[in-house]
Homo-oligomer: 241 residues x 2
DNA sequence: GACGTGTATTTCACTTATTGAAACGTCCTT
DNA sequence: AAGGACGTTTCAATAAGTGAAATACACGTC
């Protein structure tokens, strides 16, 4: 089983990633960071520029282009979030035994559950996937609207449904909540301390959702590339991988 | 002036775009859409897959990968929005003579003005860039929170500041408002009909922000590539370019 | 069960298209 | 003036991408 990869494309994508990571990169810096010759970096960046994936600001530097924003927004809007979140939900179930949900704001001012992972306890939640929920009086609603709770998560006891406690955390790329990860547990089973413990787990998964690369880096060329170390990412890969 | 473009990279990027546009594409479809041979498409898609830009779902089809979402979210969060919006603001000023603003939700539940373009009237607005605004009682706040006004824009007369009328429209990739474009005008100067006229302009610019490609297509190779014609893009380029 | 169609995948010879060192022009700082 | 850093262009070497064809697989239909 050979490992077919087009070097040119890989390099271009690494270059694109570098520009996005840095926010703004000069040609020389880009070439240094990616360990490409200046001429190659220039050529590839020009191609990226021609397709709108990067743009040149005022004088010189390269920045992420509108195409990146556009595609990202599209993908974010699509259901890609659910497949993206599934491993996180899985981990939460493993760690807590309770059901874990992914929800996003709906266009009508409510929210909707996009995906779930059933807990392992015998007394647990029926599936809510596809159901919509009001944003008022729910943990999920609180994080979807409000944004950044101090501790990174919100606990609501006996909110929309009596007898259940919800613990939710926002997925907030760029400071705006676009989704929520939550764990739902029968209230009788949980103490305040437990809720905080779970809250931290939920918050960690939610925070890592968009920064974590998930699949492995492209083997050959990545090992010698500078990785903008993200502490959260480090933690997660260390714990779970 | 040669026209340096790496064909391989261009093809890969077109492929990526196709997958993102379609949300889900089978290899054969991708090859068809991009007019590539199956083997080439497969090789390039594999490269994209290896770098996380696309992923394969259940059995077979390719979908936008987490890397796309990640980079998009990053870019969206960065200040790229302001440079992205500047031409739109410029056009609004040209067409209305009034000051035009770009604002985004802030982490503290307020909003903040990121960029502006001063109007041409002698009586006009002092610059608000950098200032934050409450989301309650403002046109910008309404679209940043609520999302989708029926007509595509919101008019608020004498809201936070007496004597001024604000006309705002949401920038909503994937149905979620991430920013607002607005025009602010002294109330005495504007009639209801005028407000609606401007509202339509604002809404058009806001809607086109993320779908419009902005820079020209890559000259040489684009003509024979299938372009997913976007009506909004057509309108705007026709009117303003 | 045989056949046909539509896939996904692999192989391989052809040669195109990418590559990087070197050279050039410019704008800095010293 | 010299030195250094950057962006850019040129060009010959060859590494690398290409696509037709062959293989294998999965479904449907007859």
């Amino acid at each position: 089983m050979p490992e077919p990869s087009t070097r040119t494309v890989e390099r271009a994508l690494v270059l694109l990633g570098a520009v996005c990571d840095a926010g703004s990169l000069t040609l020389a810096d880009a070439a240094r960071v990616t360990e490409l010759s200046a001429s190659t970096a220039l050529r590839l960046l020009r191609t990226l520029e021609g397709t709108g994936f990067v743009r040149r600001d005022g004088l010189g530097s390269y920045r992420p282009g509108l195409r990146v924003v556009q595609l990202g927004a599209q993908a974010l809007g699509h259901e890609s979030l659910v497949s993206l979140a599934e491993p996180a939900l899985e981990r939460l179930v493993e760690m807590t035994g309770e059901s874990a949900y992914l929800s996003v704001p709906s266009h009508d001012g409510e929210g909707v559950y996009l995906a779930m992972r059933e807990g392992t306890h015998s007394v647990r939640h029926a599936s809510w996937v596809g159901r919509s929920l009001p944003l008022g009086g729910t943990a999920v609603g609180a994080v979807l609207r409000g944004g950044h709770p101090a501790e990174g998560f919100v606990v609501v006891r006996n909110g929309i449904e009596a007898d259940v406690t919800a613990i939710a955390s926002p997925v907030s790329p760029g400071g705006r909540a676009v989704a929520a990860i939550s764990v739902v547990v029968p209230s009788y089973r949980i103490t305040g301390a437990e809720a905080r413990r779970i809250g931290k787990l939920v918050a960690a998964e939610a925070a890592a959702l968009l920064t974590h690369t998930g699949s492995a880096e492209p083997g050959g060329s990545a090992e010698d590339l500078p990785v903008d170390a993200d502490p959260l990412q480090q933690d997660l890969t260390g714990e779970t991988a």
